[in-house]
């Protein structure tokens, strides 16, 4: 008697091999059989007409805080993600002395845009060491977690405030090595560091003060465990990215460790950026290094309001001049009929329809709820105004605090990005799940992979796409028990409709502690998600299953 049989689906087993009609049987949280399975089960899931695949693995998230009250890392799990890697970009919630909590909370608020209530009302802060944090999240996991430990918090633990002032002494570096060993023993799957992030005071985060010798010493410890080093490099700066690739390659070869940098973006402003970086990665792999560039699937959007000056208007000289004025003068100018007339004249005969019509009104601020998600073109039509005037008046009516989104302004050309995502040395990831909460949604990149790059563009087969976000990710990260539908491995399974799997539109929701807002995207086309053999999501709803584990 099996616990579960997922019957009659197209089994895409994560290896990249062609899908086949078959069943997947589960017992004791593991995959027990794959193929034509006879026998009975306590629960049978009908997967006819659906794909049955290994659960997806998201290798770049910031769910560290959210996992303390939401063990499903919603909405990641409903998108078919069964394992997340938090602790990226040098920040984790352990090891962290009680006295240093305030400093790290500030960094998390800066980078993740997490409301302050998340740290004061949503959980009891009981731990200082990594084992304690692990125990705190393990109480309620519905999703699996493969946590990184952050270089910045390791530095802070050892050096205190000096972590953001100076290089470490040899004694301090040795103490960091010991602390990293302790974290790896307690379940960390690697170390993250950052070369770009700032804290809430605009100061570089502690990891950026490290000399090369310090990172080398920590990489040596990773080498003892064969674990991952993750870095976040400078963006759109190809020469720097290549320098970072070379630094990582040297560490990889010297200490025999995998390394990854995220994100790598494509941009038409620097058209050879990703291409040159990938070429360097190829050269370094040929030398024996492992330097995995993480590339996200989703395009990057620009959002802005008239509350703050934005470079979005950089091609409109008069608009730039007006919006750069102090608030009271800006308001007066925007209300002045003569000035408005000139501003509208700058937009051309269509009144700004071509330039602004596709902007989307966003919620989560002063924007009237009824307008959230509508295009400025629709709003303008309803108001009987040209788009440019609607932009100004709607903003004025709401204290300028109406955010607009200009979708797909970077990393947006499918024909360029598809072949890169399919490249054997490009690691699909960099979702940033759980971060940038008040700016944009970081969920549903896997759905977008299938809808945009498999179905629409044909950049890769369904089987290849599944392999990219399951077995290949597990192999890169050394997650030996995950990523394939293979007897003996963990029964992380997603059942989805290949014809419809996608991400829904971005919407504001108020489900953060203290009714805090974040942007999310629901899943489309995902029927059922099993985590370690238990159904965690089915028919559009989360179950009570708490079968997630810290996996290594």
């Amino acid at each position: 008697m099996f616990d579960v049989i997922v019957r009659g689906g197209t089994v895409v087993d994560g290896s990249g091999a062609p899908g086949f009609q078959g069943d997947v049987a589960v017992k004791d949280g593991k995959i027990a059989a794959v193929g034509q399975v006879s026998g009975e089960a306590r629960q049978v899931i009908d997967a006819s007409g659906r794909v049955v695949a290994p659960g997806f693995i998201d290798p770049h998230t910031h769910f560290d805080v959210q996992l303390l009250w939401d063990g499903a890392a919603k909405p990641a799990l409903e998108h078919g993600v069964t394992c997340v890697v938090p602790g990226n970009c040098s920040l984790s919630l352990a090891p962290l002395k009680a006295a240093d909590r305030r400093a790290v909370v500030g960094m998390f608020q800066q980078i993740e845009e997490m409301p302050p209530e998340a740290f004061t009302t949503a959980f009891e802060w009981t731990w200082e060491d990594f084992a304690g944090y692990r125990a705190a999240i393990e109480k309620g996991l519905s999703i699996n977690v493969a946590p990184l430990v952050g270089h910045s918090v390791i530095r802070l633990w050892v050096m205190g405030p000096a972590a953001q002032e100076r290089a470490a002494t040899p004694g301090e570096i040795a103490a960091m090595q010991d602390l990293l060993r302790e974290c790896l023993d307690a379940g960390a799957v690697g170390l993250s560091t950052s070369f770009v992030d700032l804290d809430e005071h605009g100061r570089p985060v502690p990891s950026r003060y490290a000399q090369a010798e310090e990172l080398d010493a920590l990489a040596a410890v990773l080498g003892e465990y064969g674990r991952m080093l993750q870095v976040v490099p400078e963006f759109y700066a190809t020469d720097i990215t290549i320098a970072r690739i070379d630094q990582l390659a040297d560490l990889s070869i010297r200490h025999n460790i995998p390394t990854t940098f995220s994100p790598l973006f494509d941009t038409l402003a620097v058209p050879d950026n990703a291409e040159r970086a990938i070429a360097r990665v190829e050269e370094q792999f040929a030398r024996g290094a492992r330097v995995w560039p993480q590339m996200q699937t989703r395009p990057i959007d620009i959002s802005f309001s008239l509350l703050r000056p934005s470079l979005f208007f950089a091609r409109l000289p008069r608009w730039v001049r007006i919006l750069r004025q102090p608030l009271d003068q800006r308001l007066a100018a925007l209300r002045d009929p003569e000035t408005r007339e000139k501003m509208l004249a700058d937009l051309g005969p269509d009144g700004g329809e071509a330039m602004f019509g596709r902007l989307i009104a966003r919620g989560g601020d002063a924007c009237p709820r009824a307008l959230v998600g509508k295009t400025l073109s629709q709003i303008a039509k309803d108001r009987g105004q040209p788009a440019g005037l609607a932009l100004i008046e709607l903003s004025l009516e709401n204290g300028l605090d109406v955010a607009f989104l200009s979708a797909g302004q970077g990393h947006q050309v499918t024909d360029r990005i598809g072949p890169m995502l399919a490249h054997p040395l490009v690691h699909i990831g960099a979702s940033d799940g759980g971060a940038h909460l008040a700016s944009f949604s970081t969920y549903g990149d896997t759905g977008y992979l299938f809808s945009e790059f498999v179905r629409k563009a044909g950049a890769m087969s369904l089987e290849k796409a599944v392999a990219k976000i399951t077995s290949e990710t597990a192999d890169i990260w050394g997650l030996k028990d995950r990523g394939r539908l293979q007897p003996g491995l963990a029964a992380d399974i997603v059942v989805f409709d290949a014809a419809t799997i996608d991400r829904e539109d971005e919407l504001p929701v108020f489900d953060m502690p203290g009714d805090g807002m974040r942007y999310t995207r629901a899943a489309r086309g995902v029927d059922t998600v099993l985590v370690n053999g238990a159904v965690a999501y089915s028919g559009g709803a989360y179950t009570d299953a708490k079968s997630g584990v810290v996996c290594v």
Binding site: F235, A237, L311, R318, G410
Partner: protein
């Protein structure tokens, strides 16, 4: 590589890009005296300050400006 007639690096291109955090950022292209070029990404604040320092009201106004305009204390 052809030498240019420049004494110092100047801006020869400017374009708005979508920043990693959803803001509009500025990529400027610098031409160096030895004829080489490279892009520099400026965050929104730095980009706006550059436009202000140059008295620029459009991206094209940045063309020909010295790299020193980008660095506050240079």
């Amino acid at each position: 590589m052809p030498e240019s007639a420049l004494d110092e690096a100047v801006i020869v291109g400017a374009e708005i890009v979508a920043g990693h955090d959803g803001t509009a950022e500025l990529v400027v292209r610098l031409l160096h005296p030895d004829g080489s070029e490279h892009p520099v990404l400026l965050d929104e604040d730095t980009g706006l300050k550059l436009m202000e320092a140059c008295g620029a009201s459009s991206l094209e106004d940045l063309y020909g400006q010295s790299w020193r305009r980008i660095v506050p204390d240079a």
